[in-house]
């Protein structure tokens, strides 16, 4: 603009910093509310639960509740990264079951080794998903749905369709070790959340995942290996599912091949409530953590209030739909801005 005699005429960067169509005041407010919805919802739910739900604010309940939502929550964190890179994994529940069964089947190798194998089984499913999506160019919905079915079958085959009980020394340690108010799964959830948050905000890898989810073409032209990064995000989701599966089996001191039916619904709901878009490129790990805690508090409160499981499904479905609607709305705003 140097040397231009009339720089005030048009709204340039200095005058109209958030360019695009000037939105109405309530529109800005709505956008803000939607962006920080998970924290607001969590605050509301916590306030309500503490005040009105009997036995909610007891030490015993807090410990149980945090352990419960943490196992699915770890999966949510993996899904957040995957969905920022514009993917999704519908088979996280099947991966969770497989990891638990692998863990239990190999427990005679020693618990640490068995746990490692369980986690690696989860990562392996992620590698298969990444391969099928990026190399064989299969749509990720179809790809992860197919691997889900295959993984489920495999889990039942290797477990001989029965629950495998933990008998090795220390099998149940990870699921129940306790530090103050929290058990190990909750600590793992918060720890993984912090690590994932740091990766997404402070490293080039995190920036690349945002970049490929925002504009894969531009990322390719900038020299990023889009396929490898995308495949890696599937591995992250598989890895997190594997960790969750091992923790769940350890907690139950047994691996049931049939677990994980509602896992994907819970994990995806929490992720989307946490501000991650179904349209890629947008989202954050801390929001997902808040989303997990919100859904956890709601589920726990409904249990304490004696609401039937079927009503809980209805409520969770309604929450998911309203969050998806707000995501579609936000996405339209972003694209038109």
């Amino acid at each position: 603009m140097a040397g231009n005699p009339t720089p005030q005429k048009q709204p340039t960067a200095e005058t109209a910093q958030p360019a695009g169509p000037p939105p109405a005041k309530w529109g800005e407010l709505l956008q803000w509310l939607i962006e920080y919805r998970a924290f607001i919802l969590l605050g509301l739910a916590l306030t309500y639960a503490v005040l009105f739900v009997p036995f909610f604010a007891t030490e015993r309940n807090i410990t149980q509740m945090t352990t419960q939502f943490s196992i699915d929550g770890i999966i949510s964190i993996g899904l957040t990264i995957l969905m920022i890179a514009w993917g999704i994994d519908l088979g996280v529940g099947a991966t969770l079951a497989l990891a638990g069964v692998v863990f239990a089947l190999s427990q005679d190798l020693g618990v640490p080794m068995a746990a490692l194998l369980g986690v690696l089984a989860g990562a392996g499913v992620g590698i298969v998903n990444g391969f099928v999506v990026t190399r064989m160019k299969v749509n990720f919905f179809i790809a992860t749905l197919s691997t889900m079915v295959a993984v489920k079958g495999l889990t039942f085959i290797i477990s001989d369709e029965t629950t495998i009980y933990g008998h090795a020394d220390g099998f149940g340690w990870m699921g129940s070790a306790r530090l103050g108010l929290f058990e190990f799964p909750a600590l793992a959830f918060f720890g993984i959340g912090i690590i994932a948050h740091l990766i997404m905000t402070q490293t080039s890898l995190g920036t690349y995942w945002y970049a490929i989810g925002g504009n894969a073409d531009a990322s390719h032209r900038a020299g990023l290996n889009v396929n490898r990064l995308f495949a890696l995000s599937f591995v992250v989701a598989g890895l997190c599912s594997g960790i969750a599966g091992v923790l769940l089996a350890s907690r139950a001191v047994s691996a049931n091949p049939g677990v994980g039916r509602d896992t994907a619904l819970f994990a995806i709901s929490a992720t989307v409530i946490g501000g991650t878009s179904l349209f890629g490129g947008v989202g954050n790990v801390l929001g997902a953590v808040a989303g997990v805690m919100f859904l956890g508090v709601v589920r726990n409160s409904l249990n304490l209030l004696g609401v039937s499981a079927y009503w809980q499904w209805v409520i969770q479905g309604v929450i998911l739909v309203s969050v998806v609607v707000s995501d579609v709305y936000m996405n339209r705003r972003r694209r038109t801005a």
Binding site: M1, A2, N4, Q10, T12, A13, E14, Q17, P18, A19, G20, I199, Q202, T203, S204, L205, T207, Y208, Y210, A211, G213, G214, N215, D217, A218, S219, H220, R221, A222, G223, L224, G281, V282, R334, A337
Partner: protein
Amino acid sequence: MESNYIVEMKGISKRFGSVQALNQVDLELREGEILGLVGDNAAGKSTLMKILSGAHVADGGRILINGEEVSIRDPRDARSCGIEMIYQDLALCNNLDVARNIFLGREYTRGLPFLSILDKKKMYAESAELLKRLNINISSPRLKVERMSGGQRQMVAAAKAIAFDAKILLMDEPTAALGVREANTLLRLIKDLRDGGHSVVLITQRVPDILAIGDRVMVLKGGRRQGILNVPEVGLDDVVELIVRGRAGAESEEDALEYLSFG
């Protein structure tokens, strides 16, 4: 003699299915000049530049940088030769801020090679410095691109291209989507870049733009080179005639008139 040219493309051919997009095209770019690349739609302008920037690989032909033959198979190769392309559709990530876009794929980092920690302070400082040096009117490198105007996005794309001292800039219709004022600002920026020692290939439909700031103009038609003209020696009519009729002069007078009134 050859070392006069910073870029030479020799006998470049490219075929997409049954379409021969480029047929034995030569291009020479001098150091520190603005070379206009003009031609009708589907003349092969963008394809030629995409080959130079590594987005496409030519079926045949050679590329020389400073007289030395190079192999450009992907954008990274092009970049290591000092070539940057600014695309018509911008190639920015709208969900990232200005600094992250400028440094995408070349972040300042410390720590492990794979899990490298971003040196955000340095990135923001250098981005702000760059915007200032180029007289780009964007208040902060922390702004997300999705909140910017078309002109501002073009400026970010230009800043991104020259952030790493690319010597050769390829610009695909940078002014196409801009208003007159923003277009003029961008043309001034391109001229400043040339004066700062960059060599620029400017693809455009607006021939007057080239006549205003260019040094030479090359005309493509039907995937073949029709000629290179020295800007000071030609007028709009000469260029348009070459665009519409080509060397052979096959098409009718009316097409030329139509194009003149359009340009």
